[in-house]
């Protein structure tokens, strides 16, 4: 691999469709997405270390009830699209990255993502 990896990591096109039903999301595999920076209260499944970071959609997992609502006994509907997004270590940790081209894949719900085509 390169010594100067891209800030946005490579993802291979998915070899198979998502095993769980999905109505299809805003973002396709390979799309550049940025995690929103908001600090919402409650049962949030978006880790802090990702806020404001840009990565690429690795795959669509399917549509799932919103856990931020389920945690408070609300129905969590309509279901939200869940993605796996890949981030490079250099994007997450900057010059302190242990190895810039290694990656972290994280599941993120669509309402936490915004388009980052500008960064691609």
């Amino acid at each position: 691999m390169s010594d100067t990896p891209e800030r946005l990591p490579a993802v291979e096109p998915p070899a198979f469709p998502p095993p769980y039903p999905t109505a299809g999301g805003r973002f396709a595999p390979g799309a550049a997405v940025r995690v929103k920076t908001g600090a919402a209260p409650g049962h949030i499944r978006t880790p802090w270390y990702l806020r404001g970071r840009t990565g690429r959609v690795e795959r669509i997992c399917g549509d799932f009830h919103n856990p931020e609502e389920l945690a408070y006994h609300r129905p969590g509907t309509p279901a939200v699209v869940l993605y796996r997004v890949r981030f490079s270590m250099s994007e997450l940790w900057g010059p302190e990255a242990e190895r810039p081209g290694d990656t972290v894949d994280v599941e993120i719900y669509e309402h936490w993502l915004e388009d980052a085509t500008d960064a691609a």
Binding site: M1, P47, Y49, C61, G62, R99, D102, V104, D105, E107
Partner: protein, 230 residues
């Protein structure tokens, strides 16, 4: 990393506060009052029994069932993937359905299987809590739930892996998977060299829990033989 707590070994024995004469730390007795949620659990459990919805025996049996889960089923899944290319394809496409084929009680588990190759190594962490494919590999070890593992595995994963005894080559790409939401992850380790012609049952003996989390490789045949001889 696997032994993050201060074990007391190597310190002066005999007068160490909080340690037994053999140098082991005493586990603090759980003498505090019940917490709110402990009281709630007891109250709900007793009501369920009183109303005849579940019996005490059923509760005991369910706890025993959860405690008895082991990595054996996960190892069988991995070994079958090594020996049957069609099964491996199904496992990578839809992990839960392929695990059910092997008798797993998948329940709500949605399994994503990630494959190690000569060029890519995968490792699993849950930075938010301790999400883990219990149905396939048993209860998570304490270190998996520890803050040190959860924080460091996304920040300096190669260093953490080295502490587990796994030093990745420069040419290997590391993929950390943070299990934050609905999916659960199983690493499909690379099949060890020197196992040509082995059947799935024999191969399963090389597949450890740690290899399926990604903090180790599957055992080499000689390593497994040495472990068995101990």
């Amino acid at each position: 990393m696997p032994h993050d707590h201060d074990h007391g070994h190597g310190h002066d024995h005999g007068h160490d506060h909080g340690h037994s004469p053999s140098g082991h730390p005493y586990r603090k007795d759980d003498d505090g009052p019940l917490t709110h949620w402990q009281r709630m659990e007891i109250a709900v459990r007793e009501l369920l029994v009183e109303k005849g919805i579940v019996t005490r025996d059923e509760i005991t049996a369910q706890i025993a069932r959860m405690d008895s889960r082991s990595p054996a089923l996960g190892a069988a899944v991995v070994a079958r993937a090594w020996t049957e290319p069609d099964y491996k394809a199904r496992l990578l496409a839809d992990g839960s359905a392929a695990a059910v084929e092997m008798g797993a009680e998948v329940e709500a588990m949605k399994l994503v299987v990630v494959e190690n190759t000569a060029a890519v190594h995968n490792v699993v962490v849950c930075t938010l809590c301790s999400c883990y494919p219990r149905n396939l590999i048993g209860l998570p070890p304490d270190w998996y739930k520890a803050r040190a593992y959860r924080a460091r595995m996304v920040r300096e994963p190669r260093k953490v892996l080295a502490e587990f005894g796994l030093v990745l080559g420069e040419g290997v790409q590391l993929r950390v998977h943070d299990s934050t939401a609905d999916m659960r992850y199983l690493v499909l380790p690379a099949r060890p060299a020197g196992t040509e012609g082995w059947d799935a049952a024999r191969l399963a003996g090389l597949v450890t829990r740690d290899a399926m989390i990604g903090v180790a490789l599957a055992r080499a045949p000689e390593e497994a033989a040495a472990a068995a001889a101990e």
